[in-house]
């Protein structure tokens, strides 16, 4: 029974493909794989917008949207209709083709990232040998689309936003990839499916998730910080810093293209959270051995929602970084830390099991953390600020 429920979507697809005429079978198979992704993740985006607005409101002791539908739950529908009916304005001096292509490219690449995410047991669009590599290759194209948007708008604020986005995303791509290298090393494979299967076992009731090892915990935290920067979310939302550069690279977008940018950004966030889950949180594996009867896809989406909640919480807490702080953090803290995590993962592989292994692997990471943290904050001089002209 649990097995059937776990594999319900897989068996349905097999059944549907088997019962369709032979000529259409490849097409039916492709459609049945892609269409759910195209439906589920945008709906998750709609749910996330309302959850985010409500959550942020509660953090600030407000009610949040509560007018459209019961408890304001139909707010995304109203937002969608509004963005559809808005006038689509393209600046006269913009590069029309690139301006049009940028949001499409963003959303397309964001969707392509889902091809290698296993959302459940046997539920992955393409089980590639080098799935993780494919994911990072595709996500690098998101930077291109953001720069296309900023450049083609022919607006100084768009341009500044795009420059910031590219500088930030390239800086944080290094720690993002390096921190995932640790998980790849431990699994011995670049295939996302294999990485999850390696984590799906249990010792007693405890799972073999990589996050439950010292290097895994450090790697996961570093990965999520880099993922926040990669998806341009607060506190790393410099590319769209409203108080400084209006809306950054999508200043000149309105109507549905603006909505597409939002969709692309959230899809990117979900995808990168999904990769974080795959690499460190055991993908679709249940957190305890006695909970394996719950279908695997529920676990994946539960973990995804938990990470989204974390993103919202962080957004409600931290103020935006300054550009130099951002760069210092990436190169002086994140990068050395990820290298140490890789080193620790290597140690973990060759040490015998036991408490001593834990200590030996945790000490270098913790030590470097304290050292780098001290180094990062030592240059700060907190003085009374004086204003030359205002006084």
């Amino acid at each position: 029974m649990t097995q059937a429920l776990d594999q319900i979507f897989v068996t349905f697809k097999h059944w549907a493909v088997f019962h369709s005429p032979a000529a259409f079978q490849p097409a039916v198979s492709v459609l049945l794989s892609i269409v759910p992704v195209l439906i589920i993740f945008p709906s998750l985006f709609a749910v996330t917008t309302i959850l985010e607005r409500k959550g942020l409101a509660r953090i600030q002791n407000r009610y949040g949207p509560n007018r459209v539908g019961p408890f304001g739950l139909l707010q995304p529908l109203a937002d969608g209709l509004k963005s559809l009916t808005k006038e689509d304005i393209v600046p006269r001096s913009a590069d029309k083709l690139v301006h049009f292509a940028a949001p499409l490219l963003l959303v397309t690449t964001a969707f392509m990232e889902y091809a290698v995410l296993p959302v459940g047991r046997n539920m992955v669009l393409a089980d590639m040998e080098s799935g993780v590599l494919f994911f990072f290759a595709v996500s690098a194209a998101m930077e291109l689309s953001i720069f296309m948007a900023g450049w083609s708008s022919r607006n100084k604020y768009s341009m500044l936003g795009a420059m910031r986005a590219v500088a930030q995303m390239i800086s944080y791509e290094a720690p993002l990839i390096l921190s995932s290298v640790a998980a790849v090393m431990a699994a011995g494979s670049l295939s996302t499916v294999t990485i999850v299967e390696k984590q799906a076992g249990y010792s007693g009731i405890w799972p073999h998730w990589y996050v439950l090892t010292p290097w895994g915990l450090g790697g996961f935290l570093l990965f999520m910080i880099a993922a926040t920067a990669e998806s341009n979310r607060s506190p790393f939302d410099l590319p769209e810093g409203e108080s400084e550069i209006i809306a950054g690279y999508f200043t000149e977008y309105s109507g549905f293209k603006f909505a597409l940018f939002f969709l692309g950004e959230y899809l990117g966030m979900f995808a990168i959270s999904g990769l974080g889950i795959t690499l460190f949180l055991g993908g679709w594996a249940a957190p305890f051995s006695f909970l394996t009867w719950i279908p695997s896809w529920i676990w994946f989406f539960g973990k995804l929602l938990a990470l989204i909640a974390m993103f919202i919480w962080v957004r409600g807490t931290l103020p935006r970084l300054r550009m130099d702080q951002l760069m210092n953090f990436a190169w002086k803290f994140m990068l050395p830390m990820t290298l140490m995590v890789i080193f620790s993962a290597g140690l973990w592989r060759f040490l015998p099991q036991g408490v001593l292994r834990w200590v030996i692997c945790a000490v270098p990471i913790a030590g470097l953390y304290v050292l780098l943290g001290r180094n990062l904050t030592s240059g700060q001089r907190l003085e009374k600020r004086t204003y030359g002209f205002a006084e």
Partner: protein, 192 residues
């Protein structure tokens, strides 16, 4: 140590998040159409004209002296004086406004018309939900919309209205004592 402040901040926001579901006193938002704050007595939005008795045409205190029209900083008041006269509250024959328009899209709620009126004929209203789908006619208020009974004035500004009534009663008594003196007429006379 690095990250201490972040953890503290996350704790603070979490406390706010969960606290807002538990303690209602945290949520200070007034859910407007359903809940309303009590307006202070001195609330003012747009001016209106006062009439005594039940008949708007007869009881209108305004004598079309045009002081408010002249004093209005954004020039949103338009008055046309009548040709014949009618008796005012003291029984004296007076002119009355044949047309009294206020363009509320121009009015800036400064209350200067109220300050300069010698007849206590124009006062500030407190009604504020005034949106309309007609941006020309709907925002140019005519005499019939502006005129409101004295009783309404008593409901929105009770203290002020009582003081005004007292003052008017005094004036009326004085006018009846020496009917020849044109005391209540000076303002209108000056403009004329």
């Amino acid at each position: 140590m690095l990250g201490e402040g972040i953890v503290k901040g996350l704790g603070e926001t979490a406390r706010n998040f969960f606290g807002s579901f538990v303690g209602k006193e945290r949520l200070t938002t007034v859910q407007f159409p359903e809940e309303r704050l009590i307006q202070p007595e001195a609330t003012r939005v747009f001016p209106f004209l006062i009439y005594d008795t039940d008949d708007m045409e007869k009881g209108l205190r305004c004598v079309a002296c045009k002081i408010c029209e002249v004093e209005c900083p954004p020039k949103c008041i338009t008055i046309e004086k009548s040709t014949e006269k009618k008796p005012d509250y003291a029984g004296k024959p007076q002119f009355f406004p044949a047309k009294f328009d206020i363009d509320v899209s121009v009015c800036m709620s400064c209350q200067i018309c109220v300050e300069v009126c010698p007849f206590e004929a124009i006062k500030m209203d407190t009604a504020f939900e005034l949106s309309t789908d007609d941006r020309f006619g709907g925002l140019l208020w005519q005499k019939d919309r502006l005129a409101k009974p004295n009783a309404y004035y008593h409901t929105i500004h009770p203290t002020e209205a009582a003081a005004v009534d007292e003052e008017l009663a005094e004036k009326k008594a004085k006018a009846e004592a020496k009917p020849a003196a044109p005391a209540a007429n000076t303002g209108a006379a000056a403009v004329r």
